[in-house]
Symmetry: C2
Subunit: 217 residues, 2 copies
């Protein structure tokens, strides 16, 4: 029984659909295993196709597939930050964090492997993809705060908080997902408000935002 | 003119002294250049020795030298955390941060290359060395706070703050070392107190520490 016979859909997929099916299969595997523990055979099996077919779409082999899967995960992560520009600011942040933490929960092992560094699959390209997500997160926050030209102190504060959220996510995965995700989310939002307040004592631009957040709540 | 003739000290160094001289030379180079921009010839030249001599001490070549230099930098960094157990707690943290930021200032490019990830010299071993420093920092903080068994919320708070300090250091290097180091240091200490307060609202163990810090100031 050839795969063609067992999966009638085999020939019907367009190039784009096939690529996307292989990426989904790869992402499902990379989400729950370290990159070094995923083989091309695993991906072929997960997608229900042959190994040569995987190679036809990803001639660069596992590294290419990993990077493509990572790019697709990064896009998904960026979507977590999409939030209508209405309602209280901290409530918007709460909803975005909710989606972000759901992503972390769903892609646990892959998320840890990626961010903990030292992975065999890590290259300057994978680092650039992750940095792109961080930058997007910072830009979303500035845009919701309606700050067109954030000064260095405000920028540093936001970037530090984003890093702290990443660290919290890794620790949370490491600690069997404790505390419960809702508590973690609220706690991170409170930390955001607290570090902004600290910066506000030294920086008039941030002080103004702190005033807005207080009025807005 | 052979190196032996020009540097009379050449033959006098013991194995340990020679090793340490080569490490110092490597560290001086890796501190201000990305690992990929340092060659073994550079290290030999910096130390005033021949390339074969460098290989005799570090047969694994540049990667071995990089890891050894990193281990030596990590030891130096740990020493930054040594602080007598006396006087107000936040003043102790301020002094330790002062030394830490001086280290960051001195090893700017190497510090960035190491922590920004995606470096060709990064392996699971280099990651483990960096993680060891982070763990040591967290242990020092817990020991000064006299917390023998930190709960998950307190541990997470301290580790998040340590990550945020790292992020701030990288951004600071990226932004031409602005704000001035004294301001950065005080700001980081204030953030420490602020995030502990936030956690204290949810965690009795941390609340008790917040009370102690307030009394202690």
């Amino acid at each position: 029984m050839t795969p063609q016979a067992s999966t009638p859909a085999y020939r019907r997929l367009s190039v784009e659909e096939r690529r996307s099916q292989l990426l989904d299969a790869a992402l499902a595997l990379f989400a729950h295993r370290a990159p070094e523990e995923v083989s091309l055979d695993d991906v072929a099996e997960q997608a229900g196709v042959s190994r040569p077919l995987v190679y036809r779409y990803f001639p660069g082999g596992k590294q290419q597939l990993y990077e493509a899967a990572l790019r697709s995960a990064a896009d998904e992560l960026r979507h977590c930050f999409d939030e209508p520009r209405q309602g209280p600011l901290l409530a918007r942040l709460t909803r975005a964090l909710d989606r972000y933490l759901a992503f972390v929960d769903e892609h646990d092992t892959g998320f840890s492997a990626l961010l903990q560094g030292g992975s065999v699959a890590e290259t300057s390209r994978t680092t650039a993809i992750v940095d792109g997500v961080r930058r997007a997160a910072a830009e979303h926050i500035m845009s919701h705060l309606e700050v067109a030209e954030p000064g260095p102190r405000l920028r540093m504060t936001v970037r530090m908080w984003i890093t702290a959220v990443e660290a919290a996510s890794l620790i949370w995965l490491d600690e069997a997902k404790e505390p419960p995700v809702d508590e973690l989310r609220d706690w991170l939002v409170e930390q955001f408000a607290a570090v902004l307040s600290v910066t506000g004592r030294r920086d008039p631009q941030t002080a103004e935002l702190v005033r807005l957040l207080a009025e807005d709540a």
